[in-house]
Structure formats: C-alpha cells, structure tokens
C-alpha cells in the first residue's frame, strides 16, 4: 500500500468509523468529530501534495482490477475537492461545537454521526471511479444531508421532506442512466464507459443514459428551474449545516456532472447539448441572482446565491462544448472551491450575526442589521471573493472561465458570467449596505458569536489565499484532469 492509497483510504474510512463511534458513544461525539475532521484535513492535504508531486493516485480495492472490483482514482480536481471538504470539515465542526456551547446537546448523538457520515460520503464521491459507486456515495451524502436538515424538527421537516423528494428523484434518474449503461456495455468504470461511448457516439443507449444522468444531477445540484428544494433546506438549517450543504453537497453533485460530461460523455458534448446546458445554467445563474436580490433574510440571500453561483460553474459545460474543455474544467473546479470557502464563511458570518442579535438576521434598511466586527469583516472578505474581486480565488475562477469562453468564441456564456457577476455584486452589496458593525454585547450569545465568527474569518482568508496559491492550485488541477 503506497502513501497515496493510505491517504485515500484514510479520508474515506476515518469519518465512516468516526460516525459509527459517535453514534455509539454520544458523549464523546464532539471529540470524535474534531479528531476525524483534523485527520481528514491532514490526509486530504497529504493526498493533494502526493497528486501534485506524482500525478493521479489509482488503486484497485482488494487487488481486483476495474471491470470486477472497485477502482479508486484521485486526480488533481478530486484532490482539490477533497482538500475543500477537509477545510470546511474542520471549520464546520468548530462552528457547530461553538454553536451548541457547553450545555446539553439533545441532537448531539445524531448530529455528529450524521455529519461524519456526510464527510465519508463526500470523500467516497471524490475518490471512486465507477458509476455505481458514485451512486452509492451520492445516496450516502444525500441521506445524511436530508437527516441533518430535518434534525431541528418543526418547520425544518417540511424543508427536509422536499429535499428528500428531490434527491430521491435525482438518484433514481441517475441510477436509471447507470443501469442503461451497464446493460449496454457491461461496464461501470468511468474510463471503460468512456472508451465504449467514444467507439460508438451515436448509440441511443449512451444518449438516453446521458440525458437521464444529467437530469438527475441537475436536480441534485439545484440548477434552476429544478432548484425548488434548496432555498428552504439551506435557509432553515442551522448555520454550520447550511455552510456544509451550500459549500459542499450541491457542489459535489455539480462536480459529478462535470466529470461525466468532460469524461465518459465528452464525445456527446456537441453544440446542441451545449445550448440546452447553457439554457439551464443561465436560468440558474440569473434567476438565482434575481431571487437573491429580492430576499430580505440574510440566509435566504445566501441560499439563492448558491443557485446562482453553481449556475455560473455549470456554464463550464457550454464552454467545453464550444471547444475549451481544459480551461472550462479548471475554471469550474476553481469556482467550486472558491465558492465553497466563501459561501461557508458567509453562512457562518450570518449565523454569528443572528447569534449576536438573538434573532434571524433580516435586512431592515441601510445599516439596520447590527453585525459583530469579526463577522462583518468575514462577510466583507468572503463577499469580495464571491463577487470575483482580484486577487481572490473567486476572481481566478471566473477569469479562467471567461478566458476559456473568449478563446472558444462562446460569447453567450461569457456574457452570462459577466451578468451573474454584476448580479452577485448587487445582492451582496445590498446585504452589506444593510449591515453596520457593532461591538457584540457581552452575554450568552457572545461565546457563540465568537465561535462562529472565527471559523468564518478563517474560511474567508482561505478564499483570499487561493489567489496567492493559484499557480500551485492550477498545477494540481493539471494532474490528470480532463478525461479520466
């Protein structure tokens, strides 16, 4: 077992065992979660540096090669997504621990194990290289996420129910596509499927599978007009859960969609498909942005902003269809990473503002919302990355997408990215205009406020740091990107 394989096994197995032990030993749940998140982050960082130094890590579990066994493949993009998961894992764990505080935590038993299962599912999703195990990982992620949304009970149950329906239909459509592929080719490994599709791109089975898988993943990634479940689920959940859902879970679905279209289905990606994908991405980018502009509750603004930003990332598909697949993939993965950091920071900052006020954060005229200083700074820094202010990660990602679009002559996606950027600026400044920094009141909420603000600051700083580690990140993304 090489170091790379060991690290890959660790990112999947550690949170999985952690989840089981957190369930059986609820009182140690928080400690287990902290330990697992830390180990996860270290293992993901090790994995990323191994991929960066030596190229993709591949492993056949139990020594069985691809058609029979489970193949793992970690290339640059998946290493970066794992690193993002690790970073958000630590921040969300810390924020949740601070939010609950020292007192009794009735949801603790379930929360920590569900949260660790979610991390394990995400790790599996970024590691496995065959279509069926992607399905298993998607289900693990979805069930854990639905349960996390449902935990507060009450009104959250309705949101969780809608989320459950959406993700179930999405999984079914995805599984249908995988079944068609398996029936036609007798293979599940993504590269084997890719070879078969390339041999006969006109095959109706491949095209039916592509349509079904795409529709399922669009639903899971909340690309408008299939976004109905997201605002309620993300807007109603506790701040750390919203941060993880917006930063990781939807992004993971979109990541799988990108991998399919830039990998096994790359031969099907022609101008006609590009038009349909551009239409749904545009709907998400613009409708999400407009709705974010219309909202008053801070968390709802952020939830709709997620729809808009993922729509921008999905515009990578029409850009790839126009012939710039490499630039499109690089820009989209960078965007997912930058968005994950910034959006999680924004949700945690919103949580800190709400904790300081003791009420949900709603905009009430210019300067009407009192924000603790650290949360205000974190919000401003993260917002800068989300808009795409240089030298943040958000800027680098949007710039790569725009550059690819310009090189491919894809003017409509380029114009859409710019329009979505302007909308992002508008709704974030509307939120910003509504806030006035104020010293937090000493009292019960002060510890929670600080506990949420500090991870928010760290994540926002991470989004800025991406601009200073950009050459390393792009070198990492070059390792085995494109066709798996």
């Amino acid at each position: 077992m090489t170091a790379g394989e060991a690290a890959a096994a660790a990112v999947f197995a550690i949170p999985l065992f952690g989840g089981v032990s957190a369930f059986s030993r609820p009182r140690a749940g928080r400690a287990i979660a902290f330990a697992c998140a830390a180990v996860f982050f270290v293992a993901a960082a090790a994995l990323a540096s191994i991929v960066w130094a030596r190229g993709p890590v591949e492993a056949a579990i139990g020594g069985w090669p691809a058609p029979v066994g489970i193949a793992w493949r970690i290339d640059g993009p998946s290493a970066l997504m794992l690193l993002l998961t690790g970073a958000l894992g630590v921040a969300v764990t810390a924020a949740r621990a601070a939010e609950v505080g020292g007192g009794a935590d009735p949801e603790g038993r379930l929360f920590w194990s569900l949260w660790l299962f979610l991390c394990a599912g995400l790790a599996a999703l970024f590691v496995v290289a065959d279509a069926f195990h992607v399905y298993v990982a998607l289900e693990l992620v979805a069930l854990a996420a639905v349960a996390l949304v449902a935990l507060p009970r009450g009104a959250a149950l309705v949101a969780a129910w809608r989320y459950f329906v959406a993700t179930l239909v999405g999984s079914t459509l995805y599984l249908l596509g995988v079944a068609v592929l398996y029936g036609e080719y007798g293979a599940l490994d993504l590269s084997l499927i890719g070879a078969e599709v390339a041999a006969d791109p006109a095959s109706p089975a491949a095209r039916l599978a592509a349509a079904s898988i795409t529709a399922g993943l669009l639903l899971k990634a909340a690309i408008a007009p299939l976004h109905f479940w997201l605002p309620a689920a993300h807007g109603r959940a506790p701040a750390p859960v919203s941060a993880a859902l917006s930063g990781l879970v939807v992004a993971a679905a979109l990541y799988v969609l990108l991998r399919f279209w830039l990998g096994p289905f790359s031969d099907l990606l022609d101008a006609g498909v590009g038009v349909v994908l551009a239409a749904v991405s545009a709907a998400a980018a613009l409708w999400g942005g407009l709705q974010a502009l219309a909202q008053r509750e801070l968390k709802m603004i952020l939830a709709y902003s997620t729809i808009s930003q993922l729509g921008v990332a999905a515009l990578a598909l029409p850009i790839a269809a126009a012939g710039e697949a490499t630039a499109a993939e690089r820009g989209a993965v960078l965007l997912l990473a930058a968005h994950g950091l910034a959006k999680a920071a924004l949700f945690l900052a919103a949580g800190a503002i709400a904790a300081a006020a003791g009420a949900p954060a709603r905009l009430a005229g210019p300067g009407g919302l009192r924000a603790p200083g650290a949360a205000y700074v974190a919000f401003a820094l993260a917002a800068a990355s989300l808009v795409g202010l240089p030298p943040t990660g958000g800027f680098a990602a949007k710039f790569r997408l725009l550059e690819g679009a310009a090189a491919a002559g894809a003017w409509i996606p380029a114009a859409l990215i710019l329009a979505a950027t302007a909308l992002t600026g508008a709704y974030l400044f509307r939120a910003f205009e509504g806030m006035a920094p104020a010293r937090p009141r000493p009292g019960a909420g002060a510890g929670r406020t600080r506990g949420l603000s500090i991870p928010a600051l760290a994540l926002a700083a991470g989004a800025w740091a991406m601009g200073f580690a950009l050459q390393w990140l792009e070198a990492l993304l070059e390792r085995g990107g494109g066709t798996p």
Binding site: S203, A215, L402, E433
Partner: protein, 565 residues
C-alpha cells in the same frame, strides 16, 4: 519665456542603486495593508485613537511618495505568488500619479484622522480607507493589466465603504448609484482583460503588449471602464452624488486620487494607438472632453452646495484630462507633451481639489479670527485650478494649450480651451463664494491636525511642481505661457461672474442655488417593489409540486431532444 524650473530635486537619489528603489516600492505596496490589518484586527479594541489613526493614515502612503521621487525606473518588485505572477515598479508614466496618490492620501489621511477619529465607526472608516489606499498604490505601480485591475477593483469597492460612511439617505442613494456604475465598469474591464488573455495568454497582460495587441472590442471595453472611473460626460452621474455624500476627507481622495486611476489606465492602454486606429475617435473624444468641461462647470454653478460645486468641478477638469488623452491618442507629434501634461494635470488637480475640499471642511468650523486667513487661503487652490500664473495650474494649462496647438484639431480646440478656462474660473469663484457663505458653526474649533493637513495640502502643489521636471521629463519641452496670456481668460471669467452676481443682486434668478434633488429615486423604488413582488410570486409558483413535475419533464425532454442521434 522659459520655465522657471528650480534646481533638480533629487538627482542623487535617481542615481542610487536599485536596491533602495525596490525596497521603497515594496514598502509602498505593503505598508497600507500592514496598517489595514492593524485596524481590522484591532476593530474590537480601542486602537483607533486620534494620534494612532493620524500616524497610520498619514504614514501609510509615505513610501509611495518616496518611491515616486526616488525609485529609479528600473526598480521592479516581482510578486510571483500574486495570481499568475505580477510585476510592480515605478515608470515615467506612473510617477506623477504616484506622487499625486501619495501626497493626497497622506494629507487627506491627516485630515480624516482629525475629523473622523472622535466619531463612531472610525475603525471601519480606517479599514476602508487603508484598503482603498492599498489598491490605489498597487494600481499605479502595477506593470500588467491583472495587477492593475486587482488594485483598481479593491480601491473601487473599498471606496464604497467610505461613501456610505455617514449612513444617511443621501449617502445610501449615492452609494447605490456609485456601485451600479462601478460594477458596470468593473465587468467591462474584466471582460476586456479576459479578451486580451484569451488572445495572447497571461504574458499578453503586460502593459507594453496589451497596449499594442488589444483588439477593438477589448479597447472599447477598457474605454468604458476607465471612462466611468474618470467621470466622462454621460458616465459621470455617480461623481457629484458620491462627493457630496462622502465625508470631506473621502471626497478629497476620491477626487484627488481615485478618479485619476481612469486617466492612468487610459494612458497605459491608449498611450500609443494601434496601427490604423480611427482618427475620428480622437476628435470625438476631444470634443466629448470639452463638452464635459463646459457642462461640468455649468452644472457646478447651477447646483447648490459647496461640495457639490467642487464635485462638478472634478467632472469639468476630468473633461480636460480626457481632451489631453484624446490629443495624445490622435496626434503622434503631440503625444509626448499631451501624455506628460495629462499625468501632471492629474497631480495638480488632485492636490488642488483635495485642498479645496479640506478648506471647505475647515471653514464650516468655528474659526474666530483665523476665518479671514482661511478664506484667503482657499482662493489659492481655486486660482491654481483656474490656471493662474505661479501655480501648478500655469504649467498644466500651458501644456494643455501646447498640446492642443500641435493637434490636427487646433482650429476649434484652442478657442474651446479658452472657453473652458473661463468656465473653470466662474465655477471656482462660485465654489469659493459658496464656501465663504457657509454659516459658521456656533462652537467647536477644528482640531490642530486639520490645520496641519490643510496647510500641507496648500503647500504640496509647489513641492509637486518643483519635482515635476524630475518625475515627468517630457514637461521640459513646454514653454510656460506669458503671464498676460495666462491671465486674460481668468480675468474674463471673473468679469463674467461679477456680471452674473450683479444681475442676481438686481433680482435675477439665474444664479439661485439649486439643491441636487433625489429625482427619480421614489419612482425607481416603487418599480423595484413591484418587480420584487412579481419575482417572489413567480418563485412561489416554481416551488409548487405540479409545476416542478412539468419542469423536470421539460428538462428531460430538452436534453433527450438535444442528444437524439
């Protein structure tokens, strides 16, 4: 008459090795951000006391001033980890801008410390101030488009925090207008830069290559982005509102330093026109500049409030800068003089305008016996803007006329410039009159640091003028106009103003001050409410299960149809 240049200011330092220059440039880039971290991390504590704030805000731009005067052209700082790698350094084009930025920010920083330090939100103000300063210095020192844009964007968005600092209704509206236009400008610049990079890779973003290789579309996008920042006629609506609403110190740096970023960007990209660039564009831009100069002056006279008048004067003066840029673009024989004059104009206007804003702020305090001296002193920068002899305006206007005479459009440009000088004189008299007429506060003398800042701003133009020959060598070619030739348009403008005042004294209404109304704002708000209600209603419909079903089927059908072999 030859120019009465003083002895060379800093010949020795120019000859000094590159090491000191590199250190100066690095310090100029880093110090604002070090202070920024100090204030943002200290936002919880009490570190924003007046002496601390004065020290930080005044000293943060100091290395930039030193770099402008002493850093040799070859000194470059390589920031390899910054995005795709960036180069920063001082050059002949940027040097006057760097001096303007450094001096204006330092002295206005002193003023800000004096006026803001006691108030709530001073740490926030300092944070935005230092971030905007950091962006402004970086954009002047940047040697490629990506670094320039980074500085430009950081400065632009940080300035939003300065404009809305008061959080009054006017400030909020001004902030929204500012932001709407700035977002448009940023998006245009971003698109332009992406076009350049897509055509030639990230190496093509270096200014030398970008200026030569940028396509027509990219150039148009750059022109839009820079034009908005410069407040070119038609794109200027943010400028008067923002200046009137922002705290005095912020208005000073907005007008004195930040607006100039548009001029610098234009000089960098359009300094040498691409082969076959249409000459009509140059004439059109020159005409637009003259129109902006006259319109800005007229509006400044019409619209009441001293700060509003000063803000309109910036629109007017930036019209003249646009004219210079247009001449540099269209007439190869005038390029050297026009470019150098545009840069010097930016320096001269920045300092004079900052001094005017600061003076207007000081005259609103209770001054007692010092009031007479202050009233007299505020005339100095006003005279400089009008172009009176023995001020920096003399050099700037001489360069402007020299460039206009060399351009192919001299026939109409030269008389138009005389008209613009007259208009400027009238506006300056009007602005000074408005400042003088402001009611004196019942109590509260200005803190001593405000006086220090103002005296510095009043004196700075002469220092800058003395250094001008060093920092912009092309200015040596300018022959200063004779005192008489420089004075008669000012005298004519003065006569015009006197006549108008006399007319008003006899009951005429032409010069009644008109307070800038928030026209259009209520109607826009109703429409926004209606649009918002419609959007929310549509979103509710999209969340109903039958609708979701149809949408899912439609998506699937669309995908299947597109994928059908």
């Amino acid at each position: 008459m030859t120019a009465p240049w003083p002895a060379e200011v800093a010949p020795a330092a120019h000859a000094a090795g590159g090491g000191a220059g590199v250190a100066l440039i690095a310090a100029a880039l880093v110090l604002p951000w070090a202070c920024f971290l100090f204030f943002t991390l200290g936002a919880y504590g009490h570190c924003a006391r007046r002496p601390v704030m004065a020290l930080a805000l005044a000293l943060a731009p100091a290395p930039a001033i030193a770099a402008a005067l002493f850093a040799p052209d070859g000194a470059k700082v390589a920031a390899d980890a910054f995005l795709w790698g960036a180069r920063f350094g001082a050059d002949a084009t940027g040097r006057p801008f760097l001096l303007a930025v450094g001096l204006t920010w330092a002295l206005a920083g002193l003023y800000a410390a004096g006026s803001i330090a006691g108030s709530e939100g001073r740490a926030r103000f300092s944070g935005f101030w230092l971030a905007a300063l950091g962006g402004n210095v970086a954009l002047v020192l940047a040697r490629d488009l990506a670094a320039f844009y980074a500085g430009f964007a950081v400065m632009t968005f940080a300035a939003y925090g300065l404009i809305i600092h008061a959080r009054e209704r006017a400030a909020t509206v001004a902030g929204r207008v500012y932001l709407a236009l700035m977002l448009l400008g940023e998006v245009a610049l971003l698109a332009g830069i992406a076009l350049v990079a897509a055509a030639g890779g990230s190496e093509a973003l270096a200014f030398e290559r970008a200026a030569a290789e940028a396509s027509g579309t990219a150039r148009a996008l750059f022109a839009l982005g820079f034009g908005i920042k410069l407040g070119v006629l038609g794109l200027h609506s943010w400028l008067p509102r923002a200046h009137a609403a922002a705290p005095t110190a912020a208005s000073a740096v907005l007008s004195g330093a930040m607006v100039k970023a548009g001029a610098l960007g234009a000089l960098r990209i359009f300094g040498a026109p691409a082969e076959g660039g249409p000459a009509e564009l140059g004439a059109a831009a020159a005409a637009l500049g003259i129109a902006g100069a006259l319109y800005g002056a007229a509006m400044g006279v019409w619209r009441g409030g001293p700060k509003t008048a000063l803000a309109w004067s910036t629109v007017s003066q930036m019209g003249l800068v646009l004219t210079l840029l247009a001449v540099a673009y269209a007439a190869p024989e005038a390029r050297a003089i026009a470019s150098a004059t545009a840069a010097f104009f930016a320096l001269h206007h920045g300092l004079a305008k900052a001094a005017l804003f600061a003076g207007a702020g000081i005259l609103a305090f209770r001054l007692g016996r010092a009031r007479g001296a202050a009233r007299a002193a505020i005339c100095l920068p006003a005279l400089a803007l009008a172009g009176a002899p023995v001020t920096t305006g003399w050099i700037a206007k001489s360069g402007l006329d020299a460039a206009a005479e060399l351009s192919p459009h001299a026939g109409w440009l030269v008389p138009a410039l005389y008209a613009a000088t007259m208009a400027t004189t009238v506006l300056m008299l009007r602005a000074v009159g408005l400042v003088w007429a402001e009611p004196e506060a019942a109590e509260g003398a200005p803190p001593r640091v405000l006086w220090l800042a103002w005296v510095g701003l009043l004196a700075a133009p002469w220092i800058a003028g003395a250094a001008a020959r060093d920092i912009a060598p092309a200015l040596k070619a300018i022959e200063l106009k004779g005192v008489l030739a420089a004075s008669w348009p000012i005298a004519l403008g003065g006569a015009l103003y006197a006549a108008a005042v006399g007319f008003r004294a006899r009951g005429g209404r032409a010069f009644e001050p008109r307070v800038e109304p928030g026209e259009g704002a209520p109607r826009l708000e109703t429409e926004w409410r209606r649009a918002r209600a419609i959007a929310l209603c549509a979103e509710r419909a999209l969340q109903r299960f039958p609708v979701i079903g149809y949408l899912l089927v439609a998506t699937l059908a669309g995908l299947a149809a597109a994928l059908w072999p």
